[in-house]
Symmetry: C2
Subunit: 497 residues, 2 copies
């Protein structure tokens, strides 16, 4: 490990992918225990570099240092969680069918080098060391990141930390590399040695890359998180208790300047909920005016809120996104528009049903829960939906929840939509355009599955079987859950892998 390596890892697509290709058997062959240690070393090095990383990202993204500091912690914890996932081993789905019908042993193998496109809004948690990278490395897939044009210095700083950590964990630093520029991104997803793509970003950019992946001679999976207009539904009884519901609603709308994929963009309230609406308007009118992540997001915010404000059946309840912005990133005022269910679903008002980053939401007044139940299925799929209710709402809540479960990957009860716990049960995904791959998650333990594919070995001599697929006829291999002849067993001897 030299100082030269600290500046390495960034290059042209051919070179960086070739390095990743050579790193693949190293990662796949190093064993789970050492791979888990590599992830933990990366987590530790990220935290050691915390001050530099936070300062760099704060300058590039205009996000608060305290917010970014917490994001470094989340990112490091995410790497550690995947270390646990790797050690626990059930992600391999080890499955052994034996006599009398022959011996077949199935497990999951890494796909090979993968490409990762991080997001503008979470420079760490969805960045170079973010969820896609952590889960791919956990799966033993080398990662080639596309540098984000909105925070390139942060990307390079994180890349250097990860490569240094990989080297000090005894692994090739080429477990992770990076390419820069729009054209490099196109070349990356069409490179024959890239086996899959993880993406977090816009619908336009994501769909273009999805189309490239599907059009390849050998198509590859494109795991894209594109755009999401998340509904938050205030049920009738809860609407009569503005002070209870207003905090999760405001958090859902305004966290990180409304620049999160889990923002509540459509807030459904009963048509007679004027006290709640008034209270929301007051709070939003006095909310801080954030700087946005970059000039193009700020320009899209100004244009997007202004355009939506003059649509048929839309009223401006609060704010004027086109005004008051001095710098190229703002600060911008929060905007709350209002409409009816028919206004929301009006064919001419498609933009109301599209995502717009920034502190903006549309308040949708519904006449009855019956009307609500016709509106929700007409919305595009989303990452998350929130329901705000009291006990008195329970009888009506069931149908609303059932409807939302079909439109959103995660359905939240009386909590902000914007928080996302990173754990085993996490699902961060949904139907298109929230995700291009409804069957996968971009966050949480199950994200590792994106980067794996099954492999079956039939009638192999024991001497040639991989360690994880060996074992006495009667039991599991030590330290690894196994399904043997259909029976799932978690009995392990507690040996470390």
């Amino acid at each position: 490990m030299t100082h030269t390596d600290r500046c390495g890892g960034l290059g042209d697509v051919t070179d960086v992918v070739e390095r990743a290709r050579r790193a693949a058997p190293v990662l796949a062959g190093m064993g789970r225990a050492r791979r888990a240690q590599m992830l933990e070393t990366m987590a530790g090095h990220l935290e050691q570099a915390r001050a530099e990383l936070v300062a760099t990202a704060a300058a590039e993204t205009a996000l608060d240092a305290a917010v970014l500091d917490a994001e470094v912690t989340r990112t490091a914890d995410q790497l550690r969680m995947f270390a646990d996932v790797v050690r626990e081993g059930s992600f391999l789905e080890t499955t052994i069918d034996t006599a009398p019908s022959g011996d077949v042993r199935r497990w999951l193998l890494p796909l090979g080098p993968v490409a990762v496109f991080g997001a503008s809004n979470f420079p760490f948690a969805y960045g170079v060391a973010g969820g896609d990278t952590a889960s791919a490395l956990a799966a033993a897939c080398p990662v080639v990141v596309k540098e984000h044009p909105s925070h390139p210095r942060t990307c390079r700083a994180v890349l250097a930390v990860l490569r240094s950590a990989a080297a000090s964990a005894g692994v090739t630093p080429d477990a992770i590399g990076m390419v820069s520029g729009f054209q490099a991104g196109v070349e990356l997803v069409t490179h024959p040695d890239i086996a899959a793509v993880g993406f977090t970003g816009s619908v336009a950019g994501g769909r273009a890359l999805f189309d490239l992946c599907a059009a390849r001679a050998v198509p590859i999976p494109f795991y894209g998180e594109l755009g999401s207009v998340n509904p938050a539904v205030v049920l009738p009884h809860a609407a009569r208790e503005p002070e209870t519901v207003i905090e999760p609603l405001l958090t859902s709308m305004l966290t990180r300047g409304g620049q999160v994929c889990t923002k509540a963009g459509l807030v459904f309230v009963p048509a007679d909920a004027e006290p709640l609406v008034d209270r929301l308007r007051q709070r939003i009118a006095t909310a801080p005016h954030p700087l946005l992540l970059n000039a193009s997001i700020a320009a899209a915010y100004r244009a997007g809120t202004a355009k939506r404000a003059v649509l048929d059946g839309v009223e401006v309840l609060c704010g004027d996104g086109s005004a008051a912005a001095t710098g190229e990133r703002g600060p911008v005022p929060p905007v709350l528009l209002g409409t009816s269910v028919s206004g929301l679903l009006d064919e001419g008002n498609a933009e109301l049903r599209e995502e717009c980053f920034g502190p903006y939401a549309v308040l949708v007044r519904y006449d009855s829960v019956a009307e609500l139940l016709t509106a929700l299925p007409a919305l595009p799929s989303s990452l998350v939906a929130g329901v705000y209710a009291t006990d008195d709402d329970l009888p009506q809540a069931r149908d609303v929840l059932t409807t939302l479960v079909h439109r959103a990957g995660r359905v939240v009860w009386n909590q902000p939509t914007s928080g996302l716990r990173v754990g085993w049960a996490t699902h961060h995904g949904g139907g298109y355009p929230a995700s291009t791959a409804a069957s996968t998650t971009s966050v949480g333990a199950f994200a590792i599955r994106r980067w794996l594919r099954p492999s079956a070995l039939q009638n192999w001599p024991a001497a040639l079987l991989p360690d994880e697929l060996r074992g006495a006829d009667s039991g599991a291999r030590p330290g690894l859950p196994v399904r043997r002849d259909g029976r799932l067993s978690t009995e392990t001897t507690g040996h470390e892998p």
Copy 2:
């Protein structure tokens, strides 16, 4: 249940998909126990109709009645296996994260109505009641089958059996429906209410449908098994024992007239293995001349073997596919071509690396295991690969197996490639073009996952949780494996779901 229903289920796309859409909540809401019973009822009804089904399929496909009879059994057993999978319940991946960081509960839900395109070569096991249908129904997804033009009467007979069985199990017969004709297939995969597609067939047809699915406004997964040229590798010591290796090789090449996706299409033998080659030629020269499945497969066989026979560096070892065929389906003579590794990889000989249905294979002579190891990675991905070896081959076998594991979904040791055990550990898939979705299988218990997507419920009141996600804080829900706070548990009380 009336006799009218026995003729029902076939209609235009709009009508049949609408029926499937209405059946979706019925299947999803009926509970696992009843869904398992439905699958078992279908299995039983198929076996009751065995004589009629076999006679119909034998007339349409030219396959032996005994072979078709066994296929009915396999198809019924496959339905029963999925009944077991549904009852066992771990396919739901129930995952519960609780305090201190909040309550998130994840499980898998059905995607909704799906389309299934069966294969020409297995009218039952990959047909209307085949693996895709069985796994989709197990997942609670209604199925709309595209009738196969090569055996339409068999399709209709099986459809009638399944609909009748669904009705007698107390489920709507519209759990399964069918459409007919090329244009209907196109309309089916582009219908907004179809959530995914399962396909077994040709590269050309499959890629066209894959492209349609990817180009939709809302893209959907296309699980296609297209074409596969499966390698069978005879290692040097095994090649000196022709009588040992010849049986699995012949089975791999000639089963069902060489019309299986797992046929060994490339047989690698050492360059000095003339006794083995001579023995293979003798056996193939005296093998039966099968009738092929339909006129277009027979025509493609005649043209395909003739075209390949005159490629540079190719010799005809046995048979002449263009000759001797009288009827439109044959009978056709088996054909064995021979070439070298360089002949196989010659840029002008691309057809040698493409699938050709029928009793045909290419014998590839390799000079050394080192040469073999350069050739195998240059092949397209395949469903299966076979290795034939003695104990003396073990030292060289490891590298060969490792290489093959990267090119084939299943790697078989000293058994025919053509058999496929249907169980928990089954993997029937691979890289493109063997499969358009390397992370999924079309056969075996894990095939159910194709038709599911995760759903997370955060902070829901217990009263509103689905049964499978409830349970005391300290344990699993009875009868269902669960992962709670990261810890997988298979402790159940044994209650039926």
